[in-house]
Symmetry: C5
Subunit: 321 residues, 5 copies
């Protein structure tokens, strides 16, 4: 679905274009064309390929979707694929945006994501001196918008991890902790797959040899790269912490088991000794003088209770009960 198709000149909006006229405006070097599509149909993609003269392989990639984030150079144009990560009902949903950048055009196709780039366009139109920098700057603005939206996602994951960590040594919470850690790890992997390849690719847009389109805006791309590096470092730290947390959970299970076993052993001992005493006085020997005593029974009960009590206290003191 076409969202926008606008021609700019000197950073100022010239006109909303019908898609058929794109190729005409592309001939005019002083013009800059910015087209945005959403969940493009095959027909729309073919139209765009025709108007912009895009490479078969790239269009194929954009059509299939489910790509790794990447930045590819085709002659003097760039193809950028990024993941857009949304938090939907406590789960992560991954959409994609494919961006085709040429000397004087930019074409973005957004798939399966509710995030839009209207804010980017508005900001760019408000600041013509930036828009005048051309397709390199718009590419930066789009990438920056995508990357900026990773921050709340990672913050969300971090606060989930902290919530788990608060209960990490709680005995009862072990099973829930495991399930949540496993789920969290899964989400972190999803985010990592969005961030890590993009970080690697962005590293080639500043310093050293740089695609011509990005040459004048290198410092901006370094900033994007820096943000991605920061997110990536946080992700790595989270993975590390999750692994340790799983280890700790495992140990909590074992420690709890020890506690249970101790209680089991202690109570078994107490009851067993009482059973032995009652067994003794339940024997049928004819000569068991204490059985005839007037206070034999209460004394026996007292003895049994005393012995059990002593055991109980000893176990209590040695922290088994």
């Amino acid at each position: 679905m076409l969202i926008n198709c606008v021609a700019y000149q000197d950073g100022v909006k010239l006109a909303d274009l019908p898609t058929e006229e794109i190729s005409d405006y592309l001939q005019r070097p002083e013009c800059f064309i910015w087209v945005a599509l959403r969940d493009a149909t095959d027909a729309e993609l073919e139209k765009m390929q025709e108007e912009f003269g895009l490479h078969d392989l790239v269009v194929e990639d954009a059509r299939h979707g489910h790509q790794r984030p990447k930045i590819e150079e085709y002659n003097d144009s760039l193809f950028v694929a990024m993941h857009m990560v949304d938090v939907v009902d406590a789960d992560l949903e991954v959409g994609e945006v494919s961006i085709f950048v040429g000397r004087n055009f930019i074409l973005s196709i957004r798939n399966r994501s509710k995030q839009d780039f209207l804010g980017v366009r508005e900001r760019c139109e408000r600041e013509p001196e930036l828009l005048r920098l051309g397709s390199g700057f718009v590419l930066y603005a789009l990438m920056d918008a995508v990357v900026d939206r990773y921050f709340p996602v990672i913050d969300d994951l971090e606060s989930q991890l902290e919530a788990i960590e608060e209960h990490i040594f709680d005995k009862g919470a072990v099973k829930t902790n495991f399930e949540q850690l496993y789920e969290l790890k899964r989400k972190v992997v999803v985010l990592k797959h969005a961030v890590a390849p993009l970080m690697e690719a962005t590293g080639k847009l500043h310093g050293g040899r740089v695609p011509p389109i990005c040459a004048t805006t290198q410092e901006y791309f370094r900033d994007v790269h820096d943000h991605l590096t920061r997110i990536n470092a946080t992700i790595e730290a989270m993975r590390d912490t999750i692994s340790t947390a799983i280890l700790v959970c495992q140990s909590t299970v074992s420690i709890e088991q020890n506690a249970i076993n101790k209680q089991l052993a202690a109570w078994a001992a107490i009851f067993a000794i009482a059973t032995v005493f009652t067994g003794i006085w339940g024997m049928n020997f004819q000569r068991m003088p204490e059985l005839q005593w007037d206070y034999g029974y209460p004394v026996a009960l007292l003895i049994i209770m005393a012995v059990c009590g002593v055991l109980y206290l000893r176990f209590k003191r040695s922290d088994w009960l």
Copy 2:
């Protein structure tokens, strides 16, 4: 077994050749020869070595089979070895294809695999303008066909992993989960051995210095490389997930054990206290007034049941039963 031996000119099929005439046609620079063998015998290999003038070491490699995927340059020709992975009865079977590529010929030898390349040849013959690009393009077409067949395999493995993950926290499924995870890990390793070395090798067919045969089709090889990178990333993610899943399974076992131990301890306590009571009233003291009471027995039974009941409820409440 010879499958095809065809000479092309200008992207159009010239003739089916008898193998003896290969060397003659190789002399004609305007011709392009494409030969396909399956499970080649030693005699066929020798014939091909003679006709195409192949290096001893490569032919040796192709004969022995069981090679790592690789791409080797010999003067102005290339030798490519790839694994073909088929899913046969829920198991992975690994076949091999060896491809010899020269300036104006391509020779593919397929071993122990039911996948064929007839589709590739048909598509190429239907599009002469691509076939005209020469041996580099045909090599791409063959590699693309092999790599494309990895996708359903990895999808299959991924859906197996998801099936396991659904039962990962089920108590009864632990043993089955272990067996399936172990089996899955084994398969992932098989696929990784097909993909990782090929990915590394393909990286040298685009960007930087490139074998002359592939020079004009670099962008196609970048596409293959990109697919391999994507598959490899998925494999790595699966390995990571499998490791975590095994950890989680281990913990599920421990958690289940805790639950069993708690039940054991609880029932032991309940029965033990009942035994103590019956033991007490089974003692043979002469003066045990309650034994003479009219309702001594039912009261005793009530007391025993009451004590056991209280214990049962306490355990129930503290979630041990």
Copy 3:
């Protein structure tokens, strides 16, 4: 909050400047300006950006805070971000310092940290021959001050680890050990995030191609780099030791459990055999001659005690009790 704003000439203090005059003094190549701010407000930052002509992106970074340590080159100026780690009530607090360095100025902005750089300024003012080396040397002096303060932190963590290690094989301490190791690991990660990226960045300030500002003071930066490498190696060793320590703790739990199980089994056996004996002599068979014996009862008690004693000794000898 502005702390200092001083102009120097030939290593000697010229004057305390009002911030408005900074840009005037910057025009004089023989002057060197050193400004220090603490928890700067947006207004102060804007003022500084205006006076020093700083890049938008950097100022943005300094404003937001929570950056990764880094060193970035902007034309002929440098931007350095470092973490300042304080031990506050046995916890680590992370502040930040952003340093902007130009040919003849240095601007440091310290956020959320109680560490100040007054000592650095004093020492520099006392040694004009060093201050005369210019902004490169002052940058070194500031970085050195920050890095030197990592040493007591890591020493503190190391002595905590040693304290845990002393009790690592103690049975009772297992749970505390786990909690402390987990907490320690968390702190080590915090320190690692301060040190590792800075180490990487500092490596580019000596050897090979170096920013012009640091060219004459390369050996000093190599020293800083060396300190960071040392700290980083210690951190890595601690991480490794903590991992092993957690493993050992896990095993201590298991070993303790074995000991408990053995005791449980041993006492269960002893009491059970006593119960069996009392049960036998509690049976109601009419012909049980030993029941009529004069010393039947004491003999029975002796037999029971003897059997239990023998069992006890056997368990004692085989180390189960």
Copy 4:
């Protein structure tokens, strides 16, 4: 012990030389000398050092033995150290071969290994056109012989691993599995130490800058390198599989423990309830009407058996027994 000392010319054997004449023949550029020693004494080594003019450090290395596999260049000569791995009584024994290669000589010293190189010499003498390629080819032939002998060793280890894997989920086999996995891991490490450094070193004998001796036989060394890479990949896969197998074994122990605990708990419950019933009817209350019933006893036995039976069936059904 000297095994062979032969001079060749144009690929044809000239004469068996006494060691004293080696240096004379070395002067004749058209000659090629190939000497083989086994478990050389110090005297023999000194003699060789004198005749061939070898570097002190290398001879020292060859004398001490126990070196890492390596390839070192000394001016225009090469020193190659390799491990020879034999399977002796199901254990791995590691011998060494040191090879000194000059422009027109090759000297191999074999230590602590029963593998010999007679086959290599025979094959070379049978094919003078290869021997004519000089010391580079002979070095290849020797290295190829050593590397080829790694294949049966790794096949052996792989089949051992497969044998373990077949029993990996067997309960009774756990302890044996552990011992065998540990032993297997040890062997894999031994093989890895033979292969990995050699692989790294061989990588420098083809492509890029290459020692002059190997220049004309680069493709052969690439083949050796390729074999080593394949073995190394198999080793890495085995290490990975062994680690997972150990994890699985650990879990099998835990799963078995759960099964035992369940049985223990179930039987304890069944016996305990029977004991409680007998305890009740063993109490000495005067008014226990059922004791007077004619069929009280058999009914009691039936009740006890019924209750135990019901319990037994319930445990059976829930898979605890």
Copy 5:
């Protein structure tokens, strides 16, 4: 403390110098000065700095001690820091040696170690043709001496590991094994910290660009590097083995626990069934015909023993007892 301060010319000892004359002799290019200090005081260090004109930062490093092993170039001089590892009472003690090397001098400062370099000096003085190679060779001789002393240390650690491995599957030894493995791992880490950074640094003294001082003795430094690589490989293998050994120990604990649990369960069953039988015949039903039988009691005992015996044998056969 000054140990030696000697001037050499043409490899021959010229004179023992008082420290004041060092700077004079340094002026004479044909002289070579070799100074050795032990646990140098600040005064001695200052004196040396003055005489040799050493850089502030290096002297600072040497004063503080506790450095990472490293090799730093200062203009045309080198600074080398190494760890000296002694086995003292089965523990590792780490001393340090700092070596300053210039064109015609070498200054070594040894701290906290009982190892001395007298042997090195003697050997050098005995072989003037080597000493004549200058400061590069003496540096090699000192480094070689330090590195050679790592070998007995690692051999010691390896034999400790082997001693543990012999008992690795012993049940009783588990706790001791854990403690020893943990201790051993600690020592291995100490040695690794001495070896790994030095190995890395030594790699820059041969091949490629090399400090001028070491240019003529590159092959010697390659030898040192090779030794360090070998030690490092052994260390890595030990770390790997220790990790596996800890895993195995953990499993041994679990396997032992299973054995104990089985015994516990078996004995519990045997005693429980005996208790049930005695309970039955201890019931007070009036009509229990077997109680009146003449041989009721011995038959009852026989039955009980028979049942227990059968159970015992079944457990024995299924390996639970």
